[in-house]
Symmetry: C2
Subunit: 458 residues, 2 copies
Amino acid sequence: MAERLVVIGGDAAGMAAASQARRRRGPDDLEIIAFERGNFTSYSACGIPYWIGGVVDDRDALIARSPQTFRDDHRVDVRLRHQVTEIDLDKREVVARDLTGGGEVRERFDILMYATGATPRIPPWAHTEALGVFGVQTLDDGSALRQWLDGEPRPQRAVVVGGGYIGVEMAEAMIQRGLSVTLVERGDQPMSTVDPDMGALVTEALDGLGIDVRTRCAVTGLRVRDGRVYGVDTAEGEIPADVVVLGVGVRPNTDLAAAAGLPIGVTGGIRVDLRMRAVGMDRVYAAGDCVESVHRITGQPVHIPLGTHANKQGRVAGLNIGGGYATFPGVIGTAVTKVCELEVGRTGLLEAEAEIAGYQFVTVVVESTNRAGYYPGAKPMTVKLIVERRSGQLLGAQIVGRSEAAKRIDALAVALWNYMTVDEMAGLDLGYAPPFAPVWDPVLIAARKAVDAIHDGR
Amino acid sequence: MAERLVVIGGDAAGMAAASQARRRRGPDDLEIIAFERGNFTSYSACGIPYWIGGVVDDRDALIARSPQTFRDDHRVDVRLRHQVTEIDLDKREVVARDLTGGGEVRERFDILMYATGATPRIPPWAHTEALGVFGVQTLDDGSALRQWLDGEPRPQRAVVVGGGYIGVEMAEAMIQRGLSVTLVERGDQPMSTVDPDMGALVTEALDGLGIDVRTRCAVTGLRVRDGRVYGVDTAEGEIPADVVVLGVGVRPNTDLAAAAGLPIGVTGGIRVDLRMRAVGMDRVYAAGDCVESVHRITGQPVHIPLGTHANKQGRVAGLNIGGGYATFPGVIGTAVTKVCELEVGRTGLLEAEAEIAGYQFVTVVVESTNRAGYYPGAKPMTVKLIVERRSGQLLGAQIVGRSEAAKRIDALAVALWNYMTVDEMAGLDLGYAPPFAPVWDPVLIAARKAVDAIHDGR
């Protein structure tokens, strides 16, 4: 008799697991049922801001594989608009509510894949039921927001709350749609995902786009009339708004998991082992934005919700469910984004994170260019390295530049992954030709400067 | 009394050494004399094709630091148009001919820095004294070529002999100047610095530029009338030419070194130790295109003339001359270039090189895109990995793409440098956002595919 895999959550992690498991085990050997609360499977949540902004025209372009593809090609019984409400690990069954037809279904499982993703943090002041207030976590969220922006009366003024990646990307998207935009950030500056000195360059770029950036500004409430939002209250007064986008971060969506007794870690994410099994559980896997990962530099658990991790983790889970062997080696906090023409990349620890982790470190910042200075189109590029004071081990790196900059973080990410010291890095054989780099690559200049800084400090 | 450093060769390696030595030792402690045969110091030879093509307007933009700067700021006694003709290691002196004024000078040295670079291979059929025939090794070569191209009668037809990096870049430069161009390559295809399957994409790009590419075509002679070249003879007939550019490669310029008894390796380059000292010699350093390096993957000596190595090696030599400690860790064969919009990157071994080194290997090639497929401007990108069959260790990688492609080789170069296996690489935390990569980075897709290939082969 076939075993049964039940997948909770039909996005990247869940469906990557389902398709990998299917690759190794046919339908006669493994039955797969996937419950998805929304209307879509396997889409690029990270692409939503670009679709909202009109950079990407077609919503369906964001969908990697449709439910029908999973049903036909992968023989996965995908059940959309089904919300799992209970997991019984003793009876090994789940209960799901049919959000369309109503009613409840129960399904037994041999193997469980928990991949419910993350949920936007809802601040205490937020009336998410008010019309005109949106998160942008799911494609359904995105659809609702786009409809609102196209509706009448046509929204003119947007307030984006929160200056993280999503907030910044959404602020730009709103500008691209012709709205006037205020970005409200509680902290000292937007993009706290890089150090303040690098983040200042982002703030500049946002200013350049005409975005009204309000920092150290706490939102205290929403103004709602006739069920529609018309403003945001802050400590410094009201900001008028026809649409409010919440980008205040997400938390692992683990309520159901916690109720069922799955192990929850200090970050709020599910604890998993190297093979993406929930720690201590029998044939229960978890992956994606609902789990926590190990940071390879600090060794500490972290919650870094990103599509690339979700895909990798889902694949690892699926390979193991399929009888193979694969492990997820942890993360190092690499991320890239852009604001208008400004590109930002980071990997490893920020200064504040290195501090918390207990490192003594030096930092170096170098200004260089992405191409040979004399080559047309050469643009400034700033590289920052954070380096353990004694060993010279790279702890973190950040790059800000105008073009061909962000993805250069990858070379630093691989160096960091391999625990390289800046001494070793200064000798790296990186690609050189005038259209692509100065003869001393900015990464090498930064490494050299860090070597000097450390030797002076000895 | 001050010691004296004599530098032979005033380009990247020699002058990097001079300035690093100066940083650590003042003029009272170390006198520095630099002999340079040509008219320039410390310039970007790699930039010459772009200056010839008019992409870079100003010759002086290629000069990193002028002789006067070295004299004034670094207190280096730079003697231009002085060709060293003899090194006497017993007497510890050099003899140099003054190419302008005539006559000879003798200078004693305590420390010698040999940095004479490389010389273009001159095929037996070449009359380099014929007008209209040029190498492009030095800035003086470039100046002469530019003058010829601007002269009367205005050259219309160019033949570039040799399809390596320089040949391909020069062919494009000639097209940019409005000449009709024939590229003659003895081998099966131009750009033999990548595997044939990747090189085919380069040939396509050259065709697209309107360059007449003749492969398996051996040049047998030049046609010269009244001292001017007017054609190139090949086994398949004559090709008319008003200008002929030789890009048939270079050899380490070691005649002088060999005569003086410096150790010459199997590649023809000077053998040096980790600190860039000529092996077995007392206080004699060598760096740049005249030395051989260790390839970190094969452990074999290689001669890879590149400005980036010359700069690094010169700096290492200079630090050691200055009383510091620095080592050059070897090379892994990383290189990048572009042909029109086509970008090419490579690192490590080609298939043929892996074969010669004795590896059993598998190769994988993946077609992907530089950005998320749905993001505007997404362009195709091909990634090839060469992987040791048993261990899964990365041996080589090549990338060909349309934009934002070549420098991605750096992440692979760092992986290779650290002897990563494709299993490890499949888990790498690389930067992801739709404007910069698909959710599965092409590098990760390639690594995954290689993992599959290896496991199937076991």
